[in-house]
Amino acid sequence: MDIFDFSDGREGYYGEYGGVFLPEILHATIEELLVCFRECKADPTFWQDYVTLLQNYSGRPTPVTHLENLSRKLGGAQIYVKRDDLNHTGSHKINNVMGQGLLCQRLGKRKVIAETGAGQHGFATATMAAKFGFECKIYMGAVDVARQRPNVFWMENLGAEVIAVEDGQKTLKDAVNECMRDWVTNMADTHYILGTACGPHPFPEMVSWFQSIIGLEAREQMLKQTGRLPDRVYACVGGGSNAMGIFQGFINDENVELIGSEGGGEGVGSYMHSSRLAYDDATVGVAQGYKTYFLQNEEGNMNETHSVAAGLDYIGVNPIFAHLHDQGKVRFEAATDTEVKEALKLTMRTEGLIPALESTHAFVTAIKEAPTMRKDEIILINQSGRGDKDIFTIADALDDAKWKSFIEGKADQYRREKN
């Protein structure tokens, strides 16, 4: 099946989800973007340029690693990991950003804006803007600015202007709103680099297309390394772009089960989580330009969300997944904050891998299920980002005493130097 074939339905709709719900003032801008995207998608040289750029700049193709120690320890399925953490800037975000950068050149726009939660997408966008020579503004919730200083540091040093958003919950969704407000003003010379497969059409399709490089590579690599396709593929789901990326490689393979792992936060019934599909708390709504499942109240106002991984801490899920969930094509599970910390420690100790907290959610679900599978079965996890550069967040999550005393010492030193 081709989820992006709209000939039988409405353009930009996946079942009843998706669409374009934007102020009229953006109608022409989104049309222009759609036309440009269709041209790029139809042009084989565009895709070739994109792949070449990622090969030369970001180290693609990223490898697939067999986790022999972890597989043996769990005593079930053989675990393989797609290493998108090895990309430049440390996550899959660079794929989408480089693609949209090339598209932005075709649009003839010289300014880019982007929202960011954890800072990964902002970091990747600032990197791309530096390389392409675009003026770059990153909108980031004030709460996230305060807790993600290292990424803010890099964005600013890469030449981007980082704007702390003080509205609402001061997190990712508020940064998205602020991007919309910038865009309705500056659309003539500005492209909005949306970071995930959410928002109005064509963003879900466009971001999924750029991220499909993960699945294309992974399918070929699995065939080459294991001689067959995996039985299950796991990916974490915030907005859902890395999961869309890897799942597209296997979506037409009937015997491959696709599993998305959402931010379970403090667990079922806590109302402190980011699970739109794995838990029953989300309902269908329209916000931020599209229709999907949102964590909202009965009047349609958004609820507070939570996850130990800032990159999963978001109210909505991409409309393609809302549809694939209805269709039973993708199964959704949640990983709680506590489970994530345990899985991270286990992965570090047994394999020497440091997945980002976001990606660790996929590990949690895979680690739970691997022991229930046969030893000759194969599972593939998308390690969408690496954790070593998020040392502040991870040290916090692991409540590391030695790290804390190091930071106290650093703070004392800065204070002394100031006085």
Partner: protein
């Protein structure tokens, strides 16, 4: 009386009408009522009652804050409709619901139309609902005799204006400039040209909004627009100088 005939009637004695705006429950319903009394005294013709939403992405900073504070204070959709009923029963101006589509979507489009009608509203403005998504809502509204207000903008092509014009009823909201609510618009020839361009595609009355804050803006629009839409400037005045300030603001605006 429907919106369009109400506007026509009022226009017999005035050359430009005024539409004002309050965010329900901000600073409080009591203060909303005081603001509306002042607006009615001044002779305001139409009022938008904004139902607060958690993601008001088409609004500028002042209204964003107002939406947020209102929700924090516990404002509900029920309260907004109750308030709308009181307001439409009490004042001579006509009342429109303004808000975001999710508010209507969550209660169901049929329920939304029925509740606006029952509360005495003559129409609604949902800035994030494009006409491509409005067919059912427009049909229900026509049956109930309330008006969906279409927005026309400076970035709309003639082809787009023709599409928008073909489904416009009651009045059209002409967005005077790019951007969100609340910043100043330089009233110039481009605004007049935009209104002229919009007129070619619809016969319904034309309200102009975004950045209108003074008598000189009104004077500029006189003879060109039918309705001047004033939002942020009034709320700013209320915050800075309360009832006396707002009274003076509307007296000067509409002098």
């Amino acid at each position: 009386m429907g919106l369009q005939s109400f506007i026509a009637e009022r226009k017999q004695s005035k050359d430009i009408l005024v539409m004002a705006h309050v965010v329900c429950g901000y600073p409080s319903f009591e203060e909303n009522m005081q603001e509306l009394e002042i607006m009615a005294e001044a002779g305001v013709d139409l009022v938008e009652l904004q139902f607060p939403f958690s993601e008001p992405s088409a609004d500028g900073p002042l209204f964003v804050h107002a939406n947020e504070e209102s929700l924090k204070a516990g404002t509900t959709v029920d309260q907004c409709f109750d308030f709308m009923r009181q307001v439409s029963g009490r004042f001579p101006f006509k009342v429109l619901m303004m808000g975001y589509y999710n508010t209507a979507f969550k209660m169901g489009e049929a329920t939304f139309v029925r509740r606006v009608k029952e509360a005495g509203g003559v129409g609604y403005i949902l800035p994030d609902l494009p006409i491509e998504e409005s067919a059912n809502l427009h049909r229900l509204s026509a049956q109930a005799d309330i008006e969906p207000i279409i927005l026309m903008t400076p970035t709309s092509s003639d082809k787009r204006l023709a599409q928008l014009g073909s489904v416009s009823r009651g009045m059209v909201y002409v967005v005077a400039r790019k951007g969100v609510t609340g910043s100043k618009t330089n009233m110039g020839d481009d605004v007049l040209a935009l209104i002229e361009r919009c007129r070619q595609h619809t016969d319904v009355p034309m309200g102009v909004g975004f950045g209108i804050s003074s008598k000189s803006d009104l004077d500029f629009l006189r003879g060109s627009a039918d309705i001047a839409i004033v939002g942020t400037a009034a709320l700013k005045t209320w915050q800075q100088s309360g009832a006396s300030g707002l009274r003076k603001f509307f007296a000067e605006l509409m002098a």
